[in-house]
Every structure is written in structure tokens, then in C-alpha cells.
């Protein structure tokens, strides 16, 4: 066993050295004005209530996030996988959800004359898209279709790189999406490095994952959305709240998953212990 471990250690060390060499090679040769790897700046790691083995959503925060989505984001971004009924998980009553859904209009099934008219949405409906189709969305936004928000918190994550991605296994870091969204929303307004060309109609943001600038202008400003629970009405707070809300939209069963996981882990550890004791007893009469 000792030799296996020694072998593993040697193997690990060798790999580490090779990694280090290649990584250093990647890091050199960066040009501040014309970067080739994005994002230019890595997002900060924030504290989220839903992180870690006992993570849970802060319903107040999700409600604030919903307010931001409704008042700001939904002007351009659809969220078509999320049904109104699931808003009950945010702490709203059935009646509140019904009233909330009724504020939206969705196309009804064809009537007797074959015409499609809009009707008020019901809890079973999904959030409607602000645009009729992708072409209309692109036309209204300078050619860039605003991405759907249903899964955005899982569909965006800045690569962690070596050796951070290994540490993530032990820290259970799964919040790359919300960290990225927060960083992007608070990352507008910085001055680009000297000599950098920013294409017209786009906005510099060093946290943007795909390029040095993006078509969306800064969407949130201090004081833009009114909170009724006394939370600070700052860009930072807004960004945290919408990020948390989008995490919920992308992974609505996160709490359930982590709670189930705890029970499964307790069971497996106890069961493994029992099997180990049984194994010790069975093998006690055999030298091996």
C-alpha cells in the first residue's frame, strides 16, 4: 500500500510539474490592449446562501430578484422554461401567483374563427418572451439576441483553471454562474486599457466571458428598483439578488437535492461502516 501511495505521489508530482510548465506558458504573452483569452478579469467569489452542503435559497432575496427580473431584465430577456406556478417556491401564495400571472398576456389557442387572440396568463403558463421570435429580438438589439434566462446561471461559468478546479471538489464550489452574473453586472463603466478598440454599439466589460465588450449596455444602476423590505438599493445588492434568483430559475430543486444528499451520505457512511465491520469479522480467520 505504501508503495502504491508513493507511486501515486510521484505520479502526481510529475503531473504537477508538467502542468505548471504549460500553465506558465499560457500566462505569458498576454497583450493588455488585444487580449485573446476571455474574460479579461476573473469574477470574485461571493458568499451565497445556496452554497455548500446545507445551502438553501433566501426567499426574500429571490423575491427581490424576481422584482428586478420583472422590472428590468424581462424587457429583453425571456425565461421560457420557468412556469408561474413555480413562483410558489419563492414564498408566494397560490392567489398571489395567480394575480402575478394575470399581469402577463400569452397567445391563446385558436378560437372558433381560427384567430389567435391573447389571454391572461394562468399559473400553468411559462414566462412569455418579450419578442415574437429570435429575429425580432435580434432586430431590436443590434443583431444580438438577448439570451434566455431560464438556465443562464448554469450556462455561464468562467473556467477555474488548474489547480483551482481540483480544490473546487473539496469546497463544493458550484456558484461560478451567479459569481459571473454579479461580476458582469457590476463590471460596466470601467475604462478600457489604452489602445484597445471597442467596436461601435458595444460596451466594454472586462468580466464578459466571450469578448472584450458586449451589445448590452449597463442594465442596472443604483436606486433603479424600489425594494419594499429595506434592503440597500445599490447596484451591488441588485446584482446579488438577480444572480440568486437566476440560480433558482436554473436549479429550482437545489435545496431538495442537498437535503436528500445529506440523508444519502449519512446512510452510505453508516452502511459502509457496518459492511466494514462484517468484512473484518469474516476475514478474521484468514490471513491475507
Amino acid at each position: 500500500m505504501k508503495k502504491i501511495l508513493l507511486g501515486l505521489a510521484a505520479a502526481g508530482l510529475g503531473t504537477l510539474l508538467a502542468f505548471g510548465g504549460a500553465y506558465a506558458a499560457e500566462e505569458e504573452g498576454h497583450n493588455a490592449a488585444e487580449p485573446t483569452h476571455f474574460p479579461i478579469k476573473k469574477p470574485a467569489e461571493l458568499d451565497w446562501t445556496f452554497a455548500g452542503p446545507f445551502g438553501h435559497y433566501d426567499k426574500q432575496q429571490l423575491q427581490r430578484g424576481l422584482k428586478i427580473y420583472k422590472e428590468v431584465c424581462s424587457a429583453c430577456h425571456s425565461m421560457n422554461l420557468v412556469a408561474f406556478r413555480s413562483l410558489e417556491e419563492l414564498g408566494y401564495t397560490e392567489a398571489q401567483v395567480k394575480a402575478f400571472a394575470a399581469e402577463y398576456e400569452v397567445p391563446d389557442a385558436p378560437n372558433a374563427d381560427g384567430e389567435i387572440v391573447n389571454r391572461k396568463a394562468i399559473p400553468a403558463d411559462h414566462f412569455p418572451s418579450p419578442y415574437a421570435n429570435a429575429q425580432a429580438a435580434a432586430a431590436a438589439n443590434g443583431g444580438a439576441v438577448p439570451p434566455d434566462f431560464s438556465l443562464i446561471a448554469k450556462a455561464r461559468a468562467v473556467e477555474r483553471g488548474f489547480p483551482l478546479f481540483l480544490a473546487d471538489i473539496f469546497t463544493q464550489y458550484q456558484e461560478g454562474g451567479p459569481d459571473y452574473i454579479h461580476a458582469l453586472l457590476t463590471g460596466f463603466g470601467e475604462t478600457p486599457p489604452e489602445g484597445m478598440q471597442i467596436p461601435e454599439g458595444t460596451h466594454y466589460n472586462p468580466y464578459f466571458i466571450a469578448a472584450k465588450s458586449l451589445a448590452m449596455a449597463q442594465p442596472l444602476q443604483d436606486g433603479q428598483v424600489t425594494y419594499d423590505d429595506g434592503s440597500p438599493q445599490t447596484l451591488d445588492q441588485y446584482s446579488k439578488d438577480i444572480s440568486a434568483f437566476l440560480m433558482w430559475a436554473a436549479e429550482p430543486h437545489l435545496e431538495d437535492r442537498k437535503k436528500t444528499g445529506f440523508r444519502v451520505m449519512v446512510f452510505l457512511v453508516l452502511f459502509a461502516g457496518l459492511v466494514y465491520v462484517a468484512k473484518r469479522r469474516i476475514w478474521s480467520d484468514v490471513e491475507h
Binding site: 500500500m1 505504501k2 508503495k3 502504491i4 507511486g7 501515486l8 510521484a10 505520479a11 502526481g12 510529475g14 503531473t15 508538467a18 502542468f19 510548465g21 504549460a22 506558458a25 499560457e26 504573452g29 476571455f38 452542503p53 422554461l81 413555480s86 439570451p147 431560464s150 438556465l151 448554469k154 450556462a155 455561464r156 461559468a157 488548474f162 473546487d168 471538489i169 463544493q172 458550484q174 461560478g176 454562474g177 466571450a210 436554473a250 429550482p252 430543486h253 437535492r257 442537498k258 436528500t260 444528499g261 445529506f262 444519502v264 451520505m265 452510505l268 457512511v269 452502511f271 459502509a272 459492511v275 466494514y276 462484517a278 468484512k279 469474516i282 476475514w283 484468514v286 490471513e287 491475507h288
Partner: protein, 432 residues
């Protein structure tokens, strides 16, 4: 070993009745109860059983997922999300299935490395090894097609890149690619046939697993000393000894599996696969699942033409060759000694091979540029060099350490020295 006579004795009337007509209980008893296994097997030998359980787990979760999945480009992505959001425990099924694939590969790689370390492929177990390589190939095909089904960006572009490999072959390349795709580009026919095959192949794997286990039970298991079983004292009965030990190994493996499913379910996946497939938008980096990365790195390492073979075909041949070379491993190894425990040089190069495979995996996730390419080329050279040069050469020039006369002698010598590795026969690897 199973050439011996059956020790099954039916006791009750019904057992005798069945045994005279279809001796299935006898087969099970002889294969999984009375079957003698070496007494010195360590936990590396638990992975065979773990893999069998993982195959069953993947099939069970997969069958239920298929009840809710729609293999249509317009529906596939949202049907998977429907499973995640609205199907009862759908998130659990899907995360079990997706992470189960990763765990399956983790276990199979440990299983293969164990075989390479202890020389499990050597005569008379060549067919056992070859059947194992066939299972690996089938697993790769199944996993690749399974990754296409959610119809995310990586699904689509991964399918495009991997089916594109076949176009590297002259003349037959394009027809093969069109047959795989069911057209000229990845589209609905591709998704449909991949779903069909993804459902079929696991049952083919199960069939080859039966042959694999059959071959195992004819030759008997190897063990850390690499010495064949010589007497009854060398073995213990499969049940309860191996059963309970495998069960404990399985429990530990399940803890790891559950840790990923419940706490890091998306760690092994790529964020881009949560973006619906878009044939007009190529992702910045197209990367396969982690378990294909070493092979992907070798594919991209060939950046130069070799005579009439251009770099694309060279890369594809290298990648296929990296699996194909496994088929002839039993004949590449010239050593008389089976286990690396008694082969100091082979042991060193084996661990370098492991490190190299991990390094290639990491390089496969990097863009193919700059020093990464050079490292990939060095890694590829070592990968093939290990099999084609080192394996035949070491057997001829290496002086192995003295072997114990039997498994029993090795075990007793080790235990006499109080578990401390003293002397030649006290191989610490035999510690259970």
C-alpha cells in the same frame, strides 16, 4: 479453475427438480458462491464488481429517463429540462445518469490500470483482456452518443467534430460520416439514430460483460503477486470473502458517486451544454467529456504531415491507434513475470504512464496552441512508447525481484513480519 467439478448439492425437492431441468442455481452457486478467489486480492480488484453495478445503474436510470425524453431536435433540450424541473425526482435520475457515466469511466480506468499494473492481460487471460477492451470501445461509443442527446451546444458541436473525424479517411470517409449522421450535417436524423444506438449499446455491453465474466471464471482471477493459484490454501470462497470485500469497496465508491450527484452535479459537465444547440454559433472551445480528453489531446497532437498522411488523418489514426494498441498488449509484454510488484523498472514506467495519461487529459481541455501542443506531442510519444517500446524491451532487459513460491507463502511471510514490508515476499501490495 472452474474446470473442477461442481460442488453444488441440491438439498430440497424443488432444488433437485430445477437442477435436473435447468441448472441455473448450480451455475450461480458455482460462479458466485463456491468460486475460489485468491486470498490476497486488494481493493483494486473490487472495481470489476463496481463496474457491473454501474452498468445496471446506468441502464435502470436510462430506461426511466427514456420514458420522458423526446429524440427530436425541436424537443430534446426542453424535454431534458422538463425532466429536471417537473418529473418527480427527475433531477435525481438525470444527475445520477450523467454523473454515473463519469463514475463508470473513472472505475473502468482504475480497472484497466489495475490490469496493466498486475499484468492481468498475460497468458492465459488474453481473451479476457481483449473482451475488456471491446467493452471499453462500446462504452466510449455509448457515452459519446449519450452526450449528444440533451442537444446542448457541446452535444451538437461534439457530434459535429467527432463524426467529422471519419472524413479524414480517403474514399470511404465521407460515406461513413453520412451514414453516421443520416445526412450531410448533424440534424434530426443524427439525434434519432444516436438515441436508438444509445439505448441499444448498453445491452451489447451487458452481453460482452457476460463473456468477460465467463472468460474470467475459466482462467481464474489474477492477484497482486501474479502467481497462479497452486493449492486450496491459496484461495478463499467467493462468498462470503470476496462478496463482503467488494461490497465495502462498492460502498466507498457510492459515497464518491453520491458526493458528485448531490453536491457537484455539474462539475463534470460543460456549462455550454445548458445552451440549446445552435448550428450557427460555434463555441469558443469545443471540448469532449473529461473521460475522452486524453484521446482528444493525442488527436490534436498530430499537427504535421507524415508522408502521404496529412495531419488530420494522422491525428485520427493516432486516436484510434491509442485504443487499438490495447488489443495487442498481451503480446507486447515480453516479461516472464506478471506483476509489477516484482518488476522495479516496469513499476516506475507504469506510474509515469499514469501521470502521462492525466497530463494528456488536462492538455485535452486546453486550446491546441503554443506549448500545449508540444506537451501533447511528448505525451502521445510516451503513451505509444510505453506499449510499443518499453513493454517489449523491459521484459528482455529487466531483472525481476525473486518471486515467492506461492500466494500462501507470500501472505504468510508478510504477516509473519508483522505487516511490515520486509524482504522480497513481503510485497505490501498484498495488503487488503
Amino acid at each position: 479453475m472452474s474446470g473442477g467439478h461442481s460442488s453444488y448439492t441440491p438439498n430440497t425437492g424443488i432444488e433437485k427438480w430445477i437442477d435436473a431441468r435447468l441448472p441455473l442455481p448450480r451455475l450461480v452457486y458455482d460462479s458466485f458462491v463456491a468460486y475460489p478467489v485468491p486470498r490476497n486480492l486488494n481493493y483494486a480488484y473490487a472495481f470489476g464488481g463496481i463496474l457491473a453495478i454501474m452498468l445496471v445503474s446506468q441502464i435502470l436510470t436510462g430506461v426511466v429517463l427514456a420514458m420522458h425524453y423526446a429524440a427530436d431536435t425541436g424537443l430534446a433540450f426542453n424535454s431534458v429540462e422538463k425532466i429536471m424541473r417537473d418529473v418527480n425526482s427527475g433531477w435525481l435520475l438525470r444527475y445520477l445518469h450523467a454523473n454515473g457515466a463519469s463514475m463508470f469511466f473513472l472505475a473502468v480506468y482504475v480497472h484497466i490500470f489495475r490490469g496493466l499494473y498486475y499484468g492481468s492481460y498475460k497468458a492465459p487471460r488474453e481473451l479476457l483482456w481483449i473482451l475488456g477492451v471491446i467493452i471499453l470501445l462500446l462504452m466510449m461509443a455509448t457515452a459519446f452518443m449519450g452526450y449528444v442527446l440533451p442537444w446542448g451546444q457541446m452535444s451538437f458541436w461534439g457530434a459535429t467534430v467527432i463524426t467529422g473525424f471519419f472524413t479524414a479517411f480517403p474514399i470511404i470517409g465521407d460515406p461513413i460520416q453520412q451514414l453516421l449522421l443520416g445526412g450531410f450535417a448533424v440534424d434530426n436524423p443524427t439525434l434519432n439514430r444516436f438515441f436508438s444506438l444509445h439505448y441499444l449499446l448498453p445491452f451489447m455491453i451487458a452481453g460482452v460483460v457476460v463473456l468477460h465474466v465467463w472468460a474470467l471464471h475459466v482462467t481464474g482471477q489474477t492477484n497482486p503477486t501474479g502467481i497462479e493459484v497452486k493449492s486450496k490454501t491459496d484461495t478463499v470462497a467467493f462468498t462470503p470473502y470476496a462478496t463482503v470485500k467488494d461490497a465495502f469497496g462498492l460502498c466507498l465508491f457510492f459515497i464518491l458517486f453520491a458526493y458528485f450527484v448531490f453536491y457537484l452535479p455539474n462539475f463534470m459537465g460543460h456549462p455550454d451544454n445548458y445552451i440549446p444547440a445552435d448550428s450557427l454559433k460555434t463555441p469558443a472551445h469545443i471540448v469532449p467529456e473529461w473521460y475522452f480528453l486524453p484521446f482528444y489531446a493525442m488527436l490534436r497532437a498530430i499537427t504535421f504531415n507524415i508522408g502521404p498522411i496529412n495531419s488530420k488523418l494522422g491525428g485520427v489514426l493516432t486516436m484510434f491507434g491509442s485504443i487499438a494498441v490495447l488489443f495487442i498488449v498481451p503480446w507486447l509484454d515480453t516479461s516472464k513475470v506478471r506483476s509489477a510488484v516484482y518488476r522495479p523498472w516496469y513499476k516506475l514506467f507504469f506510474w509515469l504512464f499514469v501521470a502521462n495519461a492525466i497530463m494528456l487529459g488536462w492538455l485535452g481541455s486546453r486550446p491546441a496552441e503554443g506549448l500545449y501542443v508540444i506537451f501533447s506531442q511528448l505525451g502521445t510519444a510516451y503513451y505509444f512508447g510505453f506499449f510499443v517500446v518499453l513493454m517489449p524491451l523491459l521484459g528482455l532487459i529487466e531483472t525481476p525481484r525473486r518471486l515467492p513460491n506461492s500466494i500462501t507463502e507470500a501472505v504468510l511471510a508478510k504477516n509473519k513480519s508483522g505487516g511490515q514490508p520486509v524482504g522480497i515476499a513481503a510485497a505490501p501490495e498484498t495488503k487488503g
